[in-house]
């Protein structure tokens, strides 16, 4: 077996074991060693993900597929892991003595998500979904306080319900097809498609992915969990979890194909997600809650691209997932730093007052990532949205596209409100907000990525096209 095939996951497994060993050491020593240790591992993980980019093959009796799609997403996930590691150092809400557990679960969640992107069997898929989900339930309860526990329980109950739906749906499909291998099932789709139970199973199963994507009707957890989790955890949920959901949605939809009924159901969900998320976000004061509603709206946009069901549609979804991770990362980076500066883990709009005076660079990052989320050129969110909507329009979904673009206008209102606080309101304290060196570099990286990918997206679009081509013929 080619070692490269399973390299990122292996690294994470070794890392997890070493973290467990680290608990055996003296407490002071552990605390001192932890951050450099995690940091170097995050770096190694990123390098490993890059090394294994171009390999492909099947593992574990064809239940686990390594291809460009999965490997691309693994790079993205390792990037997010690295990014969250950097943010965690700045966060106020993760106590020093609990950091080890925190990083442990962060790594298991990442491992789970990496496995999601490669799963081609119902069983591996279920295991990896649960691995990432349980880690996230625990992570979201990491802050102490009753309210946070409430949100975490809410997350758990919703998650458990959707994974119940997942099992129900896939048990129907597996029962009809007589196998749990998704590749085998996809060969039988032309026959199975006539069975109503098959479509029903597919709809049920997709609830589980929508849950991760925080799309309607399984979005209820998002605002509470976003609000009450420690901010780096929220950032992780908002970026890595979404990326994994897009990966698996692309894989499943490409294997199973889109029936007309399924398109109508997904389309309705997309429409409601966009409209609901944007409308409710208009009245939010808590920035993390606002970003939660914005992520519900963004889930709607991604669904529009997915249900185009065309080569261009899947390509643009892949590109948009990358864009989404970058711009959300920018927004959350600023949120974490503002939270740290105001010593309040739930920054309200008022905490952003005068950010432009206190740290012009940070305000610029905020401006760019929010405008990019709203789809303003020449940023990456705009290019992503343009190709997303143009491929949906190509398939005749003009209603969804029209409501998508109108929704973008609505969304601009609340994004600009934050910008207004940052640029216009007078700061309450005039102390400059000083950034540490890693934060400066991270900010610079996000700045460049958001701008340059918006203007020169061709390389990544070609990459996404190659990845989609490997999955199936069009």
């Amino acid at each position: 077996m080619n070692l490269l095939l399973f390299l990122p996951e292996t690294i994470l497994l070794i890392f997890l074991t070493l973290l467990l060993c680290l608990t055996l050491l003296k407490k002071e020593l552990t605390e001192k060693m932890l951050m450099p240790f995690v940091g170097s591992f995050a770096f190694v993980l990123l390098a490993a993900a890059f090394c294994s980019l171009r390999v492909s093959g099947d593992l574990f009796y064809s239940t686990y597929r390594i291809d460009l799609l999965s490997q691309g997403f693994k790079i993205l996930l390792s990037l997010v892991f690295f990014f969250i590691f950097l943010l965690s150092g700045e966060s106020v809400s993760i106590q020093k003595e609990r950091r080890l557990e925190y990083f442990f679960f962060l790594s298991t969640a990442t491992l789970g998500m990496m496995m999601i992107t490669s799963s081609v069997n119902i069983l591996t898929l279920y295991i990896s979904l649960e691995l990432s989900a349980y880690s996230l339930y625990l992570l979201s309860a990491f802050k102490q306080g009753r309210r946070d526990a409430e949100a975490s329980v809410k997350y758990l109950i919703f998650g458990a319900a959707t994974s119940g739906f997942f099992l129900w749906g896939f048990s129907l499909i597996a029962g009809l097809a007589g196998t749990t291998n998704l590749l085998e099932i996809s060969k039988n789709v032309p026959v199975l498609i006539t069975q109503p139970a098959f479509s029903l199973g597919l709809v049920f199963a997709s609830f589980s992915f929508l849950f991760k994507l925080s799309g309607f009707p399984v979005h209820f957890w998002a605002p509470d969990v976003y609000e009450s989790s420690a901010t780096p955890v929220t950032a992780f949920i908002a970026t890595a979890s979404k990326a994994a959901a897009v990966a698996i949605l692309i894989r499943i939809l490409m294997l199973m194909g889109l029936t007309h009924a399924f398109v109508i159901i997904l389309g309705t969900m997309a429409f409601i997600s966009m409209t609901l998320g944007n409308t409710v976000a208009l009245v939010q004061q808590d920035v993390k809650r606002l970003l939660a509603y914005s992520s519900i709206a963004q889930a709607g946009y991604i669904l529009v691209g997915l249900l185009a069901g065309s080569f261009d549609g899947y390509t643009s979804c892949l590109f948009y997932a990358l864009a989404y991770v970058l711009m959300n990362a920018g927004a959350f980076m600023v949120t974490v730093l503002v939270a740290k500066a105001s010593d309040h883990d739930n920054p309200q709009m008022a905490h952003f007052d005068g950010l432009a005076d206190r740290s012009p660079f940070l305000a610029l990052i905020l401006l760019l990532s929010l405008l990019s989320l709203a789809g303003i050129p020449p940023l990456v969110g705009f290019t992503g949205k343009w190709i997303l909507f143009s491929s949906a329009m190509d398939k005749g979904h003009w209603f969804l596209v029209l409501s998508g673009v109108l929704n973008s206008v609505v969304s601009l209102f609340y994004y600009l409100t934050i910008v207004k606080h940052a640029y216009l309101e007078k700061p309450k304290t005039n102390t400059p907000l000083v950034l540490s060196m890693p934060m400066k570099l991270l900010g610079l990286f996000l700045f460049c990525a958001i701008v340059f990918l918006g203007i020169f997206p061709n390389y990544f679009i070609t990459f996404a096209q190659t990845a989609i081509q490997q999955l199936g013929a069009f």
């Binding site: 012009p360 973008s408 207004k420 216009l424």
Partner: protein, 485 residues
């Protein structure tokens, strides 16, 4: 490939923007000079372009084409013909004067000039591109800095005005976006390139009608077409001087330009179908804008509503669907751009000196400051269409075409010009003549630096008023081919 002059024009403000971003904020004068140099580079090149541009050739010239996102039919293409050569010149003039006028800005100098240059690169981009993707991209690039310019450096209810302006304009652009994507999805299209679309796509008459309506509404918001004009007076009033100049002078023209370049170019049948509706809306613009302007006490609001009224003339010219009408519309776009820029440059100066723009609180300023008063009066005379000024020729052309095509509307619009004369003369009389308000005893006239940009604008107005043939020569064949195709 020849020297890419269009991209170079576009690069001037962009390079300036990056240089400013890299300059530490304490070197305020350096930042001003970078902004001035980059805008004068753009101005010089756009003037040069007017000379080397071949007016006897109605097709696209100086075409630049780079493949951008191949699979989605997106190319970076620039080209120039009669329609945009004049608009590029207008943009160059207005930004150059705008930078000079805002020499006195002292609050967040770096951010201010960066925003100005960013905005103007968007405007240049829209005027030179022939790809719908880049058209849309540059269009929005031009809108967003406007929000920041108004909200940070503006006055009078600026938060409300900025948000209103941005949301209105982006609502318009959302319609454009949907329209562009619809065109892309038509059989045979699969590209955003205007020329290819024109050649390859056969628009059914139903498509023409629906698409043109959508695009017209989208562009119409930016062109301040009635009833979507409400953002514009508020926005003009709240914006800082240079932003008002760019905004009323150039940004509003983007909408009218879009109607010509995209909507009419691709969908001539659709345009004919809706022409009467446009003419009626344009008449509403002219009459309603002028009527409201008579009731305003704030100088900036008067100019804001006069812009609405004057944009009506542009739209009326377009609605006639004749070469003369188009020529008049384009000429009006140009001369109105220069004229409003001059208006706002004057009002900005008066406001800086007197701290008020209310007509009742001004008065007798011509005694203290004859030069700025003269400038304002020249702009005013141009606004009411005095012969010898650019606007006169433009309004004459539009009216001739309009009376021929829509006699009733055409004649009503002539009568509406009388209202314009009324409010302009009242404003001039109240602000500059009569007894001097003792509060403004210390009001000082322009110094040389402040004189220079305003003088350029006046010179432009008079030059094109006396030699309109120069301008008509540039655009004549292009507008003709717009109808012939």
């Amino acid at each position: 490939m020849n020297f890419p002059i269009l991209s170079t024009i576009l690069l001037c403000p962009i390079v300036g923007l990056f240089l400013i971003l890299l300059t530490p904020r304490k070197y305020e004068n350096l930042i001003r000079w970078i902004a001035l140099l980059s805008s004068s580079g753009a101005l010089a090149l756009s003037i040069y372009l007017c000379f080397i541009f071949d007016a006897s050739n109605p097709s696209f010239q100086y075409v630049e084409r780079i493949e951008w996102i191949k699979s989605y039919g997106i190319h970076y293409t620039n080209a120039v013909d009669g329609l945009n050569v004049s608009m590029l010149l207008l943009t160059g003039i207005v930004i150059f004067c705008g930078i000079l006028v805002s020499w006195s800005v002292t609050y967040r100098v770096k951010d201010f000039f960066a925003n100005m240059l960013f905005l103007v690169s968007g405007v240049f981009g829209v005027f030179m591109t022939t790809n719908l993707f880049f058209f849309f991209l540059f269009y929005e690039v031009a809108v967003i800095p406007m929000y920041l310019l108004i909200v940070i450096w503006g006055s009078t209810n600026k938060q409300y005005a900025a948000m209103k302006l941005t949301l209105y304009l982006l609502l318009g652009s959302a319609l454009m976006f949907a329209g562009f994507l619809y065109i892309y999805s038509l059989p045979g299209a699969h590209t955003f390139d205007l020329v290819t679309l024109k050649q390859n796509v056969v628009f059914t008459s139903q498509n023409q009608d629906i698409l043109f309506l959508g695009l017209f509404l989208g562009f119409g918001v930016l062109a301040a077409c009635f009833p979507f004009h409400v953002w514009s007076p508020d926005g003009h009033v709240a914006a800082p001087t240079a932003a008002s100049m760019l905004h009323a002078g150039v940004l509003m023209k983007l909408g009218a330009y879009g109607i010509l370049r995209v909507a009419i170019y691709l969908l001539p049948q659709g345009a004919r179908h809706w022409a009467t509706m446009i003419a009626i809306l344009a008449l509403c613009n002219i009459v309603y804008g002028a009527m409201v302007a008579t009731q305003q006490r704030d100088l900036k609001y008067i100019i804001g509503y006069s812009s609405v009224s004057h944009m009506g003339i542009v739209l009326l010219g377009i609605a006639t669907m004749t070469t003369i009408g188009f020529n008049g519309a384009l000429f009006q776009m140009f001369s109105h751009g220069v004229m409003t820029a001059l208006f706002f440059a004057c009002v900005g100066f008066i406001y800086d000196g007197c701290h008020t723009r209310m007509l009742d609180e001004l008065g007798g300023l011509s005694k203290k400051a004859p030069v700025i008063s003269a400038f304002f009066i020249i702009a005013g005379l141009c606004g009411l269409g005095l012969p010898g000024m650019g606007s006169f020729v433009a309004e004459l052309l539009v009216t001739i075409a309009a009376v021929k095509t829509y006699p009733v509307i055409g004649i009503t619009s002539i009568i509406a010009l009388l209202i314009t004369a009324y409010y302009v003369l009242t404003a001039v009389q109240k602000a500059f003549y009569g007894p001097l308000n003792p509060h403004h005893e210390h009001f000082k006239d322009l110094d040389l630096l402040q004189f220079f940009p305003r003088a350029i604008l006046v010179a432009c107005l008079i030059f094109f008023g006396i030699f309109p043939q120069v301008f008509i020569n540039w655009i004549w064949l292009s507008t003709k081919s717009l109808l012939g195709g």
